[in-house]
């Protein structure tokens, strides 16, 4: 006896343009297993008409108040990050949604039944892959580049993922493609941090919940993911990472594990490091988002009593130009230095002294000769 196929009519707003509301019938294809830390349920649906497969994130059935609160927070995170990324991609002129990021298609904001619709994830979680094998040589560079590219996009969108780990980074071995997924813990950059995440994946300042969320919080987590993916060591097994055993990694990802976000390089900088000769993906903050961000900063500054940031006084991490080749300024400073050409007046004192000496000697001689 076959199970009847459930159908449902979904009304949702497009992620890249919330003014467009779409109504579509979908068929339930199957339930997906949710990660243990997720309070959201995942269901695979097929949109009738287009027949495309979508993943629906929805509230759990009959949640407790605490569970409902947690699920709503996670759904908010998905929608917030998805909307920001979708609009950034739309305004950046990029050719389609970057494959390195999961894509929010739309979201339903009905209070009783909020949900998010995403393209199904690709590949498998990195954690599952690493249970079987390490990344092969041909996959390693693509993996690094893809993950850093994903973080460069999120940084440009002002999104901090806050849960980058082998469970949320997926790898498709056939497509040779990485995908950063599960934005349920995401927040907006520059908002006050709250304690999120656990050792070793969350950065110290993120765990402590001090200061303001920074895209470079994710750089710490991504560094650990990369370390595990490239070298097969579980970071949780170490109190101190054996970076000295992996000079290649230590060189490329220098300062990634710095104690504070400000000391860490940005994802764009890391991209420059690992593939200096490959044109990096230049992502910029969309004007609209930049305006919103500026307004937010002003608002926050007013609330906290901070002076309004002066343009250029505190450059944002994602707008800092990548550093140039590591050459000291001294090398390009030419030969100017303490040594200068001899001044023309050197011979004057010599002449004076000689004249005085000669004159003194002659005068003394004449006087004595008399």
């Amino acid at each position: 006896m076959t199970q009847p196929i459930a159908e449902e009519e979904l009304r949702y707003l497009r992620a890249d343009d919330a003014s467009v509301e779409i109504t579509r019938k979908v068929r339930h294809v199957g339930e997906l297993v949710s990660p243990p830390a997720s309070s959201l349920r995942r269901r695979l649906v097929r949109e009738q008409g287009s027949e495309r497969l979508l993943m629906q994130l929805r509230m759990p059935e009959d949640p407790s108040p605490r569970e409902r609160m947690r699920a709503l927070e996670q759904l908010d995170g998905e929608i917030l990050a998805g909307v920001r990324l979708a609009r950034l991609v739309q305004r950046s002129g990029a050719d389609g949604h970057p494959a390195v990021l999961s894509r929010l298609v739309g979201y339903g904001d009905a209070p009783g039944n909020p949900f998010a619709l995403l393209d199904p994830y690709i590949g498998e979680p990195l954690a599952a892959l690493l249970d079987r094998r390490a990344l092969f040589e041909d996959e390693r560079m693509e993996f690094q580049r893809g993950l850093l590219e994903a973080l460069a996009w999120t940084a440009a969108a002002g999104v901090v993922h806050r849960a980058v780990s082998p469970a949320t980074v997926r790898w498709d071995a056939d497509l040779r493609r990485v995908q950063l997924c599960d934005f349920s813990r995401a927040t907006v950059a520059d908002t006050p941090r709250t304690p999120v995440g656990v050792k070793p994946w969350a950065s110290p300042d993120q765990r402590d919940g001090v200061g303001f969320a920074d895209p470079r919080d994710d750089v710490w987590s991504a560094g650990l993911v990369l370390f595990q993916a490239l070298h097969g060591h579980d970071p949780g097994a170490f109190t101190r990472l054996p970076l000295s055993e992996h000079p290649d990694f230590a060189e490329r990802y220098q300062a990634v594990f710095a104690g504070t976000a400000a000391q860490r390089p940005t994802a764009a900088t890391l991209l420059e490091r690992i593939a200096p000769r490959v044109a990096p993906v230049r992502v910029t903050v969309g004007e609209e988002l930049a305006k919103d961000r500026a307004a937010f900063r002003r608002l926050r500054g007013n609330k906290l009593g901070e002076p309004e940031p002066v343009a250029g006084a505190r450059p944002r991490a994602d707008t800092v130009p990548p550093p140039g080749p590591a050459r000291s300024q001294g090398e390009s400073g030419g030969t100017s230095g303490p040594l200068e050409p001899s001044p023309p007046g050197l011979w004057l004192p010599i002449g004076v002294v000689i004249v005085v000496l000669a004159a003194g000697a002659v005068v003394a001689y004449l006087l004595l000769a008399r």
């Binding site: 060189e251 050459r327 090398e331 050197l346």
Partner: protein, 785 residues
């Protein structure tokens, strides 16, 4: 293989022939075995003439033991067994008739009633399974075959008594669980794995590459210029030559610094450019730069090296997690470094500070306002002025020359703000010297000395001034450290050109082999992990052993040996991939393969014990022996010493017992026991067995197997066995073809042995005077029992 095993039960003639061909037919591999154990149906046996002819003329088989399974057939005179004429003792053939595959408990002499045999499930087929297991051991096979010649018609019904002569299943289970756990637990200790990169990825550095060689030569030229100028600077040439210290500091050393930076950047660019090239282009470029560059190694070499490593570590008893960790470590070590690493190492060898030290070197030291030079100035002038008033002129001349020389010194060093005070100081010193010298001369009364005296004083003053000046110049430049910076830079360039770039060259020249080795090691680490996972699950699913079972761990060495070989065999999919130079995700196939082999192994140890190596162990490889203490000896002894005519599991239906003889004389018996138990058995017999053999005289000691006991062969009564002649087309042969078979077809039949009376009179040769009767084929009639 010591005994060819052919199961022809249920197979038609063509299928049986095909099976024979596969096993011992033309083209099949030759082995050291010339024995064939054939299982057949009694109902099909009469039509098997061609089949057994094919076996016996294969040239690969000398002796055949046919286990004919099934009830008796109708003969002309009652019931009995029909057999192909070829299957007779004179042809080295023996027939063991298994009327009932399970068997019954029956004593032959005095003949008793059929009773259930203890421990044998009705309908289980246990008797036949055990018989086949025993006959698979060459020692038992040979003895049965030998005894078959003594049996009437070479036919007997087998009976068995046995006891397990190996550890109990509980102990085996416990040993399996322990060995699996030990193999899958990381040791945490140092790993003895080889650190050498397989596949030829490691080796001596090639000769210095031509990378950025032009820039390096440019730096060396610039450094040589600066170095020679620096060496000359401390001499008269430093004072009067073209390369003044100021020129060295402002031109020559910065030029060397610029050349050094250019060399470093060119090397880094070359590294980055080479790294970015596709493998084939990179190899071509490296070969163009240096024709001696090595090509990538053969993938099979890499695979063989990795396999040798894993096999060695498995044999050494390393745990699977340790082997996996070692392989991952190997992968990390042999993976070619990236250009970023070499750029970093380049920056380490030639740091910006080193270049800066050349671009903006320390200026030459300047004379201090108060120094020993002032004393020299004073003394030189004073000596020249000693001839009294005339000495004023010679002293004045020396004074003027000294001041001029100091001006020259300052000019050569590059002037500075302290020039005027310095000159004034020296002017004062020489003036004082002149005054002092002249005054001293006047006081001494030298008012008008000889010109010779004046000349002498002048020469002495000049000489003193010149020598002092040169010494002072030397001492000044000795304190100049620009030379040290230049030497450091030269050493760094040498290190880059002599070690670092060749190392990069070497890595990238063998990048293909290195990448292949690294990927192979990673794949193997995953494969070993998959095998370990399957082993862990297997250990978890094993039935819990009774408390105390196998606590001594006496079976552990054997089980660990077997499990290590099992893992080695399970890794075959990975070897196949590696041989092809590829790497892939083999986790699932290896996990399944390991699980399959483990199930096979469990069956093996349950059914055949540990004494016999399982199928995945190379029989030629030395395997740890089971300790004698692992054998259960009491039952073994009892079963060996009991008389053969007593109660045994007779493979005969009660309804057919009347076809068997019951006399002790006609019966034959063979005792069997694993050789490993021999001394233990003798010891176990203790005082009672002193002076007596460990087992009855007819006992054969087997190399494998886990059972000890007796196999008795009960002959059939006279007239119950008939031979059937059969032609190639399953019809009765013409008498001449039966009498004179072609030599190629049945060579032995053409020359009947002494026991043969010649060709049979008909297709059916009645045994022992039975009347001839047309051949009955299974297709013609069913034989109800």
């Amino acid at each position: 293989m010591n005994v060819h095993h052919l199961d022809l039960r249920g197979a038609g003639t063509e299928a049986a022939l095909a099976a024979v061909d596969r096993a011992v037919g033309p083209g099949s591999g030759l082995t050291d075995s010339r024995r064939a154990l054939v299982l057949d149906d009694t109902s099909l046996l009469p039509g098997r003439q061609r089949v057994y002819e094919r076996i016996l003329t294969s040239g690969r088989v000398d002796r055949v033991v046919c286990v004919a399974v099934g009830g008796p057939q109708r003969l002309a005179a009652g019931r009995g067994l029909l057999r192909p004429q070829l299957l007779n003792p004179t042809r080295g053939s023996t027939i063991l008739w298994v009327d009932d595959p399970t068997g019954i408990g029956w004593a032959a002499d005095p003949p008793g009633a059929a009773v259930p045999y203890p421990g044998v499930e009705p309908g289980s087929g246990a008797g036949l399974a055990l018989l086949v297991d025993l006959l698979g051991q060459p020692e038992v096979f040979d003895e049965v075959s030998r005894l078959g010649e003594e049996l009437p018609e070479g036919v007997a019904c087998p009976g068995l008594r046995w006891a397990a002569a190996s550890p109990g299943y509980d102990e085996l289970t416990a040993a399996l669980a322990r060995a699996a756990a030990a193999l899958t637990r990381p040791s945490g200790g140092p790993r003895p794995g080889s650190d050498a990169a397989p596949g030829g990825a490691a080796g001596a550095l090639p000769r210095e590459p031509a990378l950025a060689a032009g820039r390096r030569r440019a730096f060396q030229d610039a450094a040589a210029d600066a170095g020679s100028a620096l060496a000359a600077a401390g001499t008269w040439r430093g004072l009067f030559g073209p390369d003044t210290p100021a020129v060295i500091a402002t031109e020559l050393l910065p030029a060397a610094g610029t050349a050094l930076a250019a060399y470093r950047d060119a090397a880094a660019d070359e590294c980055a450019r080479l790294e970015a090239l596709p493998a084939a282009e990179r190899a071509a470029r490296l070969r163009a730069l240096d024709p001696g560059v090595r090509a990538d190694d053969d993938p099979r070499g890499t695979a063989a090296a990795l396999r040798e490593r894993v096999d060695r570590e498995l044999a050494a008893g390393m745990t699977l997690p340790d082997i996996g960790a070692g392989l991952n470590g190997l992968a990390n070590r042999v993976a070619p470094s990236t250009g970023a690493v070499y750029a970093s190492r380049l920056r380490g060898e030639i740091p910006p500070g080193m270049v800066d030290a050349l671009l903006r070197p320390e200026p030459p030291p300047r004379p201090a306002p108060v120094s020993a030079a002032l004393v020299l100035a004073f003394a030189s002038a004073a000596v020249a002025a000693l001839p009294g008033p005339p000495g004023l002129l010679s002293g004045g001349l020396v004074a003027v020359l000294w001041v001029l020389a100091m001006g020259l010194v300052l000019t050569r060093l590059g002037s500075g703000p302290s020039a005027a005070p310095l000159l004034l100081g020296h002017g004062g010193a020489v003036a004082l010297g002149v005054a002092a010298g002249a005054g001293l001369g006047a006081a001494a009364g030298w008012q008008a000395p000889e010109p010779l005296v004046i000349g002498f004083a002048l020469a002495a003053g000049l000489g003193l001034a010149a020598g002092g000046l040169l010494g002072y110049w030397r001492s000044l430049l000795r304190r100049w450290t620009a030379g040290a910076a230049l030497r450091t830079a030269e050493a760094a360039a040498e290190a880059v050109g002599g070690r670092l770039l060749p190392a990069a060259w070497s890595e990238w020249a063998s990048a293909g082999a290195r990448r292949r080795t690294a990927d192979g090691a990673r794949m193997l680490a995953g494969a070993v992990g998959a095998a370990g996972g399957a082993l862990s699950r297997f250990a978890e699913e094993l039935p819990a052993a009774r408390p105390g079972a196998g606590e001594a761990g006496r079976l552990d060495p054997v089980v660990r040996f077997d499990l290590a070989r099992l893992v080695g065999r399970a890794l075959r999919p990975a070897w196949d991939l590696l041989d092809g130079g590829a790497a892939g995700d083999v986790h699932a196939p290896i996990r399944e393969r390991t699980a399959g082999l483990l199930a096979e192994y469990e069956r093996h140890v349950r059914d055949r014990g540990l004494q016999e190596p399982p199928g995945f162990v190379d029989p030629d490889e030395p395997r740890p022996a089971l300790p004698e203490s692992a054998w259960r000896l009491d039952d073994t002894l009892a079963s060996l010493w009991e008389p053969p005519e007593g109660l045994m599991l007779q493979l005969c239906d009660p309804a057919s017992l009347n076809l068997l003889t019951t006399s002790r004389e006609g019966m034959r018996a063979v005792g069997f026991a694993p050789r490993a138990t021999r001394s233990a058995m003798r010891a176990a017999r203790g005082a009672a067995g002193r002076g007596r053999p460990a087992a009855p005289g007819e006992t054969v000691w087997t190399e494998s197997g886990r059972f000890a006991g007796r196999l008795r062969l009960v002959p059939l009564r006279a007239g119950t066995v008939e031979s059937v002649w059969e032609t190639a087309d399953d019809t009765a042969p013409p008498p001449e073809s039966a009498a004179e078979p072609g030599p190629a077809a049945v060579p032995a039949a053409a020359e009947p042995g002494p026991d043969r009376a010649g060709p049979p009179p008909s297709a059916v040769e009645p045994a022992r005077g039975a009347e001839a009767e047309p051949a009955i084929t299974p297709a013609e009639e069913d034989y109800p029992r």
